[in-house]
Symmetry: C2
DNA sequence: TAGTGGTCTAGACCACTAT
DNA sequence: TAGTGGTCTAGACCACTAG
C-alpha cells in the first residue's frame, strides 16, 4: 500500500524538479495559479499550497500582480540542513568514521540544568571523539555528544561504545526529531584540539552547537562540534517575515 | 486612512503577543482551530493562516491530532535577522558609527562577474571601514561594502563619503529589499585587521558575507563583515521541510 | 473513539503590477 | 485596465493522537 502524497506536494515536487532540471531557468515566470489549476485539475487553494511549497524552499519569489518568478535553480544548502544535521549523526557509522575518545554515563549538574532549562536532573550518555572521512581518514571535526535518557529502560548498565552508538542511531532514526536548533561561533583551535584535527594550533575553527528535539518537544541530544575553519561554511537565505515584525 | 491588516495577521499578532507576554507558557496548548474560529468569528482557513504565522516564526509546533503547542516564548534571533541585517546597515549613521577608510567608484572585474553571475560589468561604490559602538567607541566589525549602481543617474561624479552613505540609506530604506543571503565562515584576524578592531592579532573571527537583493531579484548590495569571535554568534532553528526533501 | 490538525473544493472580492 | 497573487468564506472528508 503506497502512501499517497498530498496533491499540493505532488505539484510542489513537480515544479521543484522542473526548476532543478532547467525547465524554468533563472528569472523565468512559472505558470499562473489559474493555469496550474487548469493543467492539474485542482482547486486554486491546492495550487497555492504547491507554490508555497517551493517558495518556502526559496526557489521562487511571488509578487502580487507580477507572478511567480524563479530566483534560484538549485537547492539552497539551508533546506537540506535539517535532514543533513540529523543525517550527519546517523552517518557516524557510515560515510564518516567516529573514533570515540570518551564514553560515559553522566548526570546533568546544576550549571547544565540551568543552561538547558531542565527542572530535574537527567542522565545522559556522553560521547566525544573525532569524526573523519572514511576514504582518506581526514578529520572533519571533533564532536562531543550528550545523549539524554529517553526511555528509561533502554540503556544497558554496562555502557560500551557500540551500544552507545546504536542507541544514538535509534534516537535519531525513525523520524523522531521534530526540530533542530543550531548555534555558530568562531573559535581558536587549542593545541590539543588542533592535534586531534590534524591541523595547526591556533588556527581558526567553527564551533557548532546543535540541539535535537523530539517531536514531543523534549531535548534528546546535544552535540557540540568543532570544525577547522576551512571545513565548514554556513549559508542562509532570509526573507521578510510577511508584513509585520 | 489606516492600512487595515489582514485578519489572519491580526490573529497571528495577537497570539504572538500573548505568547511573548506569558499568557501561554512553554508547553501550553493554544486554542484549537475550531475555538479560534468561534472566538474571532473567522473561517477555519483564516484561523489556520494565523496559526501558520506564529508557526513560521518558530513559537509553536503543530501536530495533527495533538494540537498547537508553545515551544518557545521569545522571538528567535533568526526571525529578527532579516530586519536586523537590513537595519544593521541603516544604523551606520545612527546607533553605530562607521568610520570609512576607503570610498571609491569601481567596476566589477572578470573574477567578480563570474562569482556574482553577472552577464555585464556593473559599477559600484566601494566602502570599507570599521563599524563601532557610538557610546564607548568599541569596534564591532570591519565591513567592506559593494553598493551596485541601481538607477544609473543617481550617483554624483564627485563621490564623497557622505553621498555614498546617503545613497546606501536610500537603497536599503523604503523596503526595497526582498531577500538577504548570508554566508558564515570562521577566519583568523590578520594583524592589520586586529589592529583596526582593537583586538589581538591571530585571534578568531567570524566572516559574514551578506548579499542584499531587491524585490525585483537584483543584487543591490554586497557586504563582507569581519567580527571578533566574541562579538558574534548566529542562532538558527531548523524544522523538517514537510514530508519530503 | 472523540477530537485534533491536514487536505481539498468552489466559490468570492480585493490589492497590486504591468502596460 | 486586464490579469496576477492575496485574503476570505463555508463547507467536506481524511489521518493522526490521545485517553
Amino acid at each position: 500500500m503506497q502512501n499517497k502524497q498530498a496533491k499540493y506536494i505532488e505539484l510542489g515536487e513537480l515544479l521543484l524538479q522542473q526548476i532543478l532540471r532547467g525547465h524554468y531557468p533563472l528569472s523565468a515566470l512559472l505558470p499562473t495559479e489559474k493555469e496550474l489549476c487548469a493543467q492539474h485539475g485542482i482547486s486554486r487553494h491546492t495550487a497555492r499550497e504547491g507554490l508555497r511549497y517551493i517558495e518556502r524552499i526559496g526557489l521562487v519569489e511571488r509578487r502580487q500582480g507580477a507572478g511567480t518568478r524563479v530566483i534560484r535553480t538549485n537547492l539552497p544548502e539551508q533546506i537540506n540542513q535539517f535532514t543533513q544535521s540529523v543525517q550527519e549523526l546517523l552517518e557516524f557509522g557510515q560515510q564518516t568514521r567516529f573514533s570515540i575518545d570518551v564514553c560515559q554515563l553522566l548526570i546533568t549538574d546544576k550549571d547544565e540544568m540551568s543552561r538547558l532549562k531542565f527542572s530535574h536532573p537527567r542522565e545522559y550518555i556522553y560521547l566525544a571523539g573525532v569524526r573523519s572521512e572514511v576514504h582518506d581518514k581526514k578529520p572533519i571535526c571533533y564532536s562531543s555528544i550528550q545523549q539524554f535518557r529517553y526511555h528509561t529502560d533502554l540503556y544497558a548498565k554496562d555502557l560500551d561504545k557500540k551500544t552507545a552508538l546504536k542507541q544514538m542511531m535509534h534516537l535519531l532514526s525513525s523520524s523522531n526529531i521534530g526540530r533542530v536548533e543550531q548555534e555558530f561561533t568562531a573559535c581558536l583551535l587549542t593545541s590539543d584540539m588542533a592535534q586531534k584535527l590534524n591541523d595547526q594550533a591556533h588556527s581558526a575553527g567553527m564551533r557548532v552547537v546543535r540541539k535535537y528535539f523530539s517531536k514531543q518537544g523534549e531535548l534528546v541530544l546535544l552535540a557540540e562540534s568543532i570544525y577547522p575553519a576551512h571545513r565548514y561554511r554556513y549559508i542562509n537565505v532570509l526573507t521578510p517575515a510577511s508584513k509585520k515584525l
